[in-house]
């Protein structure tokens, strides 16, 4: 099973350029936990539901921004030199208005800063070695297009979108016209 997490370029870009180490404080801050839990989203190994996961993640917030999703495989992590210990994964419904994907949200359990650091180094290796294969970028325009398609299929309620995610709703309407 695969999991994805959005990366903030403000924190991670310098890792790719080599200007900083994955254990940079901004990078660690981007992996901040609450109750030792780090938010991730589950994706099929075939990536067939990636678009839906992207929409679900995008609709956890009102700000219209693109997503840069890094693909994380616990199996691969375990065999890597970075995070070579078992990873506990906890269920938690996602705070998204895309109801269809609510149960795809999970939490990685990171008990100490060691696990946080190991994960940072692992992600750093993914984006440095092969960004294109290990990451997927969803432009905000692409996300708006997917939102419109979800509305057309009846999978997303446009009134709910307007009420809770007004900025996405406004962009979706603009793209339709």
């Amino acid at each position: 099973m695969l999991y994805v997490r959005n990366l903030n370029p403000d924190a991670w870009m310098n890792v790719i350029t080599g200007d900083t180490h994955p254990l940079d404080s901004d990078v660690i801050s981007d992996l901040s936990t609450s109750n030792h839990e780090l938010s991730v989203w589950e994706v099929d190994d075939s990536l067939s539901d990636m678009d839906d996961v992207a929409v679900a993640l995008a609709l956890t917030r009102d700000e219209v921004r693109d997503l840069t999703l890094v693909k994380l495989s616990p199996t691969d992590m375990r065999s890597s030199k970075y995070y070579n210990e078992d990873l506990d994964i906890k269920e938690q419904p996602g705070a998204t208005i895309y109801d269809k994907m609510v149960d795809k949200h999970k939490n990685f359990m990171l008990p100490t800063f060691w696990q946080m650091g190991f994960l940072a180094e692992y992600i750093g290796s993914l984006i440095t070695n092969d960004f294109e294969s290990n990451c997927v970028i969803y432009d905000s325009t692409k996300l708006v297009d997917l939102i419109n398609k979800a509305i057309d299929c009846g999978e997303l309620n446009s009134d709910l979108l307007k009420k809770h995610r007004g900025r996405w709703s406004k962009k979706a309407k603009a793209l339709r016209t």
């Binding site: 870009m13 790719i16 294109e132 432009d139």
Partner: protein, 273 residues
């Protein structure tokens, strides 16, 4: 709608309001906006209700913008017949915002436009001390805000005020801030990102062509974080003209920026065009 009987009182009140605002707020340009925003209508005569004032004020803004858009000088405009066909046709699309015909209140507009004090609202001389003060205020805000959503919200509010007074002057200002930053040996990434994130708040045409120049420059800046944010602007525009802009740019070298660039080209083909 103001009736003929009420017209003399309203006419006098509107002129008094504009004049009083200028006197009491020290002639800062956007204090007139503050008058509307704080909803302090105690200065108005009892015959003039809030909706009527806003109706006049909206129409006043439209006329003022027409003057500015056509780059006409104040005295030239006043000497012309206010109601020539060109001006009427340019206002005709704004009928939903102007609740009454400008034709009905020709003397009102002539008086406002010709009075010396109110002409200072219309003339936005970039060499004037008043303009210098508001620019200084904006610049202080620019360098002090955080580069988060709230900070950019604050910046956007001040930027819009400035742009309403003098569009070209304001856009030249942000262009100057952007280029001055690049002239520094150690450029401030945050300053560049603030400008770009401010531009992202507006549609393709609203800041044309200044925004396009800044964004195409930013895409060629060495720092990949700036390049990426510039591509995010093209993403937010979602305008077909921006696709051609994209095609005329070299593919970036940084893998993250390059992936964004390729993704954007595909997105535009699928979703925008």
């Amino acid at each position: 709608m103001i009736t003929t009987e009420k017209k003399p009182q309203v006419y006098s009140s509107i002129r008094d309001v504009f004049t009083k605002s200028l006197n009491s707020f020290g002639k800062d340009y956007y204090c007139l906006y503050d008058t509307v925003r704080i909803n302090d209508f105690s200065v108005f005569s009892s015959q003039l209700d809030k909706d009527s004032f806003l109706g006049y004020y909206n129409a006043y803004k439209i006329v003022r913008q027409s003057i500015y858009d056509k780059k006409q000088k104040r005295d030239t405009f006043v000497k012309q017949d206010l109601f020539d066909n060109e001006i009427i046709s340019s206002l005709s699309d704004e009928s939903s915002r102007a609740p009454f015909s400008v034709f009905e209140h020709k003397s009102l507009w002539s008086d406002i436009l010709s009075s010396e004090k109110s002409s200072k609202i219309i003339q936005s001389d970039t060499n004037s001390a008043q303009w210098g003060r508001v620019v200084s205020g904006f610049t202080n805000t620019f360098y002090s805000i955080r580069i988060d959503t709230e900070g950019i919200d604050t910046l956007e509010t001040e930027f819009v005020h400035l742009k309403d007074i003098n569009r070209d002057g304001t856009l030249n200002l942000i262009q100057s801030i952007f280029i001055s930053n690049l002239e520094n040996k150690n450029i401030s990434i945050d300053s560049a990102l603030k400008i770009i994130r401010l531009i992202q708040r507006f549609d393709y045409d609203e800041l044309f062509p200044y925004a396009q120049f800044i964004i195409t420059t930013a895409i060629h800046v060495k720092n990949p974080r700036i390049q990426l944010e510039a591509l995010n602007t093209i993403d937010r525009w979602a305008d077909k003209r921006a696709l051609n802009l994209l095609y005329n740019l070299e593919s970036p070298l940084n893998p993250w920026v390059k992936t964004k660039y390729e993704s954007l080209k595909k997105t535009y083909k699928d979703a925008v065009c």
